[in-house]
Symmetry: C2
Amino acid sequence: MRGVVIHAPGDIRVQDREDPRILEPTDAVIQLAATCICGSDLWPYRGIEEVSSAAPMGHEYVGTVTEIGADVRTLKPGDFVVGSFWASDNTCEICRAGYQSRCVQAYPMGAIGTQAQFARIPLADGTLVATPGQPDAGLLPSLMAASDVLGTGWFGAVAAQAGPGKTVAVVGDGAVGLLAVLAARQLGAERVIAMSRHPKRQEMARRFGATDIVAERGDDGVAVIKDMTNGLGAHSVVEAVGTQESMMQAVRSTRPGGHMGFVGVSHDVALPGLELFFAEINMLGGPAPVRRFLPELIELIWNRSIDPGQVFDLTLPLEDAAEGYRAMDERRAVKVLLTP
Amino acid sequence: MRGVVIHAPGDIRVQDREDPRILEPTDAVIQLAATCICGSDLWPYRGIEEVSSAAPMGHEYVGTVTEIGADVRTLKPGDFVVGSFWASDNTCEICRAGYQSRCVQAYPMGAIGTQAQFARIPLADGTLVATPGQPDAGLLPSLMAASDVLGTGWFGAVAAQAGPGKTVAVVGDGAVGLLAVLAARQLGAERVIAMSRHPKRQEMARRFGATDIVAERGDDGVAVIKDMTNGLGAHSVVEAVGTQESMMQAVRSTRPGGHMGFVGVSHDVALPGLELFFAEINMLGGPAPVRRFLPELIELIWNRSIDPGQVFDLTLPLEDAAEGYRAMDERRAVKVLLTP
């Protein structure tokens, strides 16, 4: 099969890779209907994360089951499925508490590389959720989004306890931040403030339900949020970047007793203990347990209640993956869908 | 009146101070029935916090109202009252959400110095809670504890979501940690693990309801907690020290999706972002909003349901405050009660 491999920062190639096969009786193999490029794929692309040897890329996926292991009970070949970027058994104590991304058997799909024509999915019964039927082509981008960016934005909004009566601020205007805006509105938030300087992303944030846009960043952005909230700060803040500046912007934008959900993968972040102590905010973050939300998200997409697939503003054939990485790196595209 | 003043690290003096009087119409003045020395008073005593000039000490207090300002509505001279170490209006949006220690008008009682015979209490209606009647002398230590250490340990246990079915670990065996043990049990926790190497404190932890004692510290302590919890970590962890080591011990002892409440005042703590991200735990900490819990705590004490006053293992006249500081500094006493 064909698949995307990174050889060095900036060096993305589409090449022949070994066809995946069942390794464990709990595995399934799927044929991808779509895959995509994640903001987090840009860290190694930009050399901020080390690339020590050639490695397959991609951890988001939707597609059709082609083969199942002997122990797979809930799926059959032909099922159309969506899964999370962490494989999980969905039965351990951590999964049952709703934290499937930290399952005792958690397996990172990035190690498999789903920017490819086929992929092995470990722990298939726990990881994959079948759609109610075969989706129309028009639903593919939104189902694709559910695999990571929608689920991650949703977790950020849930962790920030977005809900009725709440003012929610979102730090970060990438696909995850934009979908945190959508999530906050779906969860009933009264006011949703998107922090973005980028006109096209501001417009998308408004389409997803942002009531306000704040272009200022850092402590200037914090000051605007305080001005908008009677000096107190937002009830709920979602952090979707992962830098020191964005984390502190999020901490400082949250009112005492408020909730901050942080879903941007941390890079060189150190949180000052004393400031965190006196901030007195509830914090929850980490790799999103997307599996917790998938049944609900698939239903909302299937019913056309939400259209998160709009974040894909560029679609390319898998063979042109390198151009997709360039477009995202240069911020010409919010998120790139790849068709295998 | 007589009151405690710190002149330099290690230099505690009891001296004449000006009698407090009503400055604002929302003030009350109380005559202290008891006051005490806090673990946090040891930071300047040890020179870890700077002592730039002579300063009054103490922020915990119980006593009798002697005078009220013109706007005080809910209290009258003669009432016996307990208050928190933060004065708060108890009416602002932050107070109503239960975070009175971060009230928009919050005033730190440490700036007033309650290791004295009398004290001015700002925002008296919001800050003070009257007991159902005049307390027996035997209740004074427990009511005194409610003013800070019990309320702080209680907040730590609530922030850690201690409750039925939960395994709770407490890092720190000072008065706050010991009372977090009591709180966790009262809140219905199934298993309460006190982390302590000190035989006398271990014994007190058991009296307060600890089911297990772990003497190991740091990552050795974490390993023991993991062993006791099927490799997962505790559901709930209370941090009651405030150092880098104790914070990381608490983070690492909490299972993914679990809750950590941190109430030790942070000193030179920096939390690594990436580790926090992958820990995926709920965190809440800060100066305890003791006022939220005071009505409930006073009732539990009044009914003799709890006896937190046991943490006071040394009682001295106010005039001997310097000896009280020495005893706590040398860990000869858990907590010292001072009688004015």
